[in-house]
């Protein structure tokens, strides 16, 4: 779509109006009595747009056409789980009794909402095999932070606290393949991050783990499973045992739960605490970068430390319970991203236990199929069969000067969103592909054909790939220049100089 559309501020014309309120129906108070002049704005909100309703609709509709989206086609971002976002879930979330409910309504007047929270908690506990749960965290990283804080609180209660609030055990172990949010979240709890190596086979290096655990300083391990190269950590039981014997706890990043739902449960693997991403595994829409929801599930040992308030049974109904004196406290005002709870519950109830298992199988099969088909054209750094996502590299193509970024951009010309690129960091030139269960065989075949065509182009006409994309409204943007002299907002003066 090559239509151009200026910024909303550039479209604005003084005097245009896109709203109408009912006339004020109370006796007016003099403005100065209402609020003294020195507390009132004196800029007349200059710069805020003035547009009619059709202007607004056209503006946002036009710019929307510059976005790729799931409904348009396969969105194979690894570790992001871009699955179908059902319209039914959207409808459920918009039922008036949910949408119009004030968060400070009394428990008595909000029984339906409490029931949604309670039921979702119950189902997520069953899915993870971990009985303690809080839905309060607003996103994956927020759930991680909460999970690590639970570990910290548990260890402080068990071991005591060192001088100046130092944790008795200060090391949080994180594999070199982890998401960047893991170390950032660990840091917030006062832990020192220690990196654990991966083996050439793409598994956690047990020897390295044992070595560090022997120091006695280990508070815990943050592990993604399946890990970020798409492999199940075969030794997960042993990994948990080593960390537990060293006195630490195991946190699992649940970003890749789409490979496991209905097949295996983190609680059965020995994991102590996990966060889930409702916006990945449970299909709540990504919305161009949120909202997410990052429930935190844990063992009974960690449960007393969960954020407050928690929803509990109250006779026939439900209520908030604030009385957990060992809780880490609140991580968010109110109760979490409730709108995502209704959608996720709707997803679970639409699938049922067999449907959830079927989705997992279909997701893993799709990834396996792609892995199988592309091995002839792209370097696949790990031999083991992948779970729900597979990693390739640009090793073969880079000999011709074609790199992962180029392949990703060229994929756009073939009608696909690029895969996750240059992640995980341990794989040079990584291309991480996650098809999810939401794509059919024909579309997967089109994707495979596109990737093969690009591999041929990299051989025969490398410039075609290097200069991609060729079909978008704009070409590659100079990100380095943008960061050197950041322009982070529109300003009225710029309009004047442009005119």
């Amino acid at each position: 779509m090559t239509i151009n559309e200026s910024l909303v501020f550039e479209r604005s014309m003084p005097g245009r109006q896109g709203y109408r309120l009912p006339a004020l129906d109370v006796d007016e108070t003099l403005l100065d009595e209402l609020l003294p002049a020195d507390l009132r704005r004196d800029d007349d909100l200059e710069g805020m747009p003035e547009l009619s309703e059709p202007d607004v609709v056209r503006h946002f509709t036009r710019i929307s056409t510059w976005n790729y989206n799931i409904d348009l086609g396969m969105y194979p971002l690894g570790s992001c789980t871009m699955k179908y976002n059902s319209r039914l879930n959207e409808r459920v979330a918009r039922i008036g009794g949910f949408g119009n409910l004030h968060p400070l309504a009394s428990d008595e007047d909000a029984q339906g909402a409490l029931q949604v929270i309670y039921e979702l908690q119950h189902h997520l506990s069953e899915i993870t095999g971990l009985p303690g749960i809080s839905l309060q965290p607003a996103a994956g990283a927020h759930g991680e932070m909460t999970g690590v804080m639970l570990i910290r609180a548990f260890l402080d209660a068990r071991d005591g606290v060192g001088e100046g609030d130092a944790p008795r055990r200060h090391l949080m172990l994180i594999p070199d393949s982890a998401h960047g949010t893991n170390p950032a979240s660990a840091h917030l709890s006062g832990f020192t991050v220690k990196t654990i190596r991966s083996t050439p086979e793409g598994q956690t290096d047990l020897e390295h783990l044992r070595e560090i655990c022997a120091t006695g300083d280990v508070a815990g391990l943050m592990l993604t499973n399946p890990n970020t190269v798409g492999l199940f950590e075969r030794d997960i039981r042993e990994i948990c045992r080593i960390v537990h014997e060293a006195g630490g706890l195991v946190y699992m990043d649940g970003a890749n739960m789409n490979a496991l739902v209905g097949v295996a449960r983190p609680g059965d693997m020995g994991v102590d605490v996990i966060h889930l991403n409702l916006h990945k595994t449970f299909s709540t829409p990504h919305g161009g970068g949120g909202p997410g929801s990052g429930p935190c599930c844990c063992t009974t040992e960690l449960e007393p430390f969960l954020p407050v308030p928690r929803v509990v049974r109250d006779g026939e109904g439900f209520k908030f319970d604030f009385n957990f004196p060992r809780s880490i406290g609140r991580v968010k005002a109110f109760y979490g991203n409730f709108g995502m709870f209704t959608r996720a519950l709707s997803y679970i109830l639409t699938h049922g236990p067999d449907g959830l298992r079927e989705a997992t199988e279909a997701a893993v099969l799709n990834a396996r199929y792609i892995a199988h088909a592309l091995t002839s054209d792209y370097d696949k750094p790990f031999d083991a069969p992948p779970m729900h996502e597979v990693v390739f590299t640009d090793k073969r193509q880079s000999r011709k000067g074609v790199h992962t970024l180029d392949i990703a951009k060229r994929l756009i010309d073939y009608g696909f969103h690029p895969m996750t690129i240059y992640f995980p960091l341990i794989v040079q030139g990584a291309m991480l592909i996650e098809p999810t269960e939401s794509v059919g065989r024909q579309e997967i075949q089109q994707f495979i054909d596109a990737m093969r065509a690009i591999a041929r182009e990299a051989q025969d006409t490398p410039d075609l790939v290097i200069n991609a994309p060729h079909t978008t409204r704009i070409g590659r943007l100079d990100e380095a220049a943008a960061a050197r002299k950041p322009v982070l907002r529109w300003k009225p003066e710029e309009k004047a100089t442009a005119a």
């Binding site: 910024l7 896109g18 309120l21 009912p22 109370v26 007016e28 609020l35 020195d38 009132r40 704005r41 805020m48 747009p49 547009l51 607004v56 929307s64 976005n67 989206n69 348009l72 059902s86 959207e90 008036g96 009794g97 949910f98 968060p103 909402a113 899915i127 607003a138 996103a139 994956g140 804080m149 949010t181 170390p183 917030l188 709890s189 097949v263 919305g287 161009g288 949120g290 406290g329 991580v331 968010k332 005002a333 109760y335 409730f338 995502m340 699938h351 236990p353 959830l356 099969l365 069969p385 969103h417 690029p418 939401s438 409204r473 590659r476 943007l477 990100e479 943008a482 950041p486 907002r489």
Partner: protein, 449 residues
Amino acid sequence: MRYIPNSPDERAEMLRTVGLNAPEELFSSIPADIILKRQLDLPAALSEMELLARFEAIAAHNTAARRPNFLGAGAYSHYSPTIIDSLIQRSEFFTAYTPYQPEVSQGTLQVIFEFQTMVCQLTGMEVANASMYDGSTSVAEAVLMAERVTRRRKVIVSPALHPEYLQVAQTYVSHAGIELAQTGFDEQAGRTTLDDATIDEQTAAVVVQSPNFYGCVEDLESLAERTHAAGALLIVAVTECASLGLLRSPGACGADIVVAEGQSLGVPLGYGGPYLGLFATREKFARQMPGRLVGVAADKEGRRGFVLTLATREQHIRREKATSNICTNEGLIALIATIYMTTMGRRGLQEVAMQCAQKAAYAARRIAELPGFSLPYAQTPRFNEFTVRAPVDAAELLRRLAREHNITGGLALSRYDPTRANDFLACVTETNPRAEIDALVAGLKALTA
């Protein structure tokens, strides 16, 4: 399952292609002893009709959702123009991912750039990020940022900050080596006070909410002056963004960081979320900000576009040294706010604010006239929320008002402060017609006669 395109036969064929015989073999890399050997214990799948009926039945138990409402305290009933929900349901917006690939994400990126600009204009600040989770976590992140900027470790918080915001900040800083202290509070005026005993050269920041939790507009300019004299930053929190259509912006009053709950900008009450954290600051602090930022960029032909920028602050690059662990934020909710601010526009934002203030003034006047009722902070300027002192226990009064008069009359302050048994917080917006306000007043009168 109807969301899975491949039929069982197609899947069987794909399995054969990859050299497997049964779906169980897909999971052969998982040790047998941790494979779940039973079906998950979950309810059987529902059809669309059954599911809707079930959720409608559950939602019907949310009786508060159908009543005239005077509850505020961090979440506000405002009118949201119809086009907002229609536009955000475009697939291009709600089923897109974070705009990491700018060539196919210009729609989202331009929206964020417009959002950042409007947040700056509304708050009177120079730079704003792409959003945070909500107002409460934004306060916590602002506190952490103030420590990074000043390298000082004490933060003084107004007791008139939303109590849940304070609790969230306490959790966030519990292991950050930051000490949270309290400012003073003038119980007569309902306003924050700062004395030399509390603010000192160790102070990184002062956190104040305006209008504050009790509805009073703070004297931000003099608080800014005192804060800056000690070399500290003033963090201003706004829970009711509609107020910014009328009140002098925090930026104009001297704030260094402005954080806000953006729910008032067209976002449904939705039982507390998803909401929207606004985060704005001075340009010189941009590199210390948490969260994503969108900036202008150009392609080789010189065409204007937008990209995520200054990413070296963020967790995927800087890992444990990042300015925050935040990744997913509230993109779609920022879109709601952007469409809201565009549709209401310069005039509408002012008119909403004026109607809120006028209607609240009317309601406050009428309630204050009731026998036994008073407004403890009557002399202090307010916006659309005010504290009422009832002649009886407020929680019980509001409960009866709901039962006998079908009105949610406000928030009993005993929820957060047991010493305030008779006080409640009432909030009036443009969505409350005069008839509702009159019914509230009549109900309060009848129940205390």
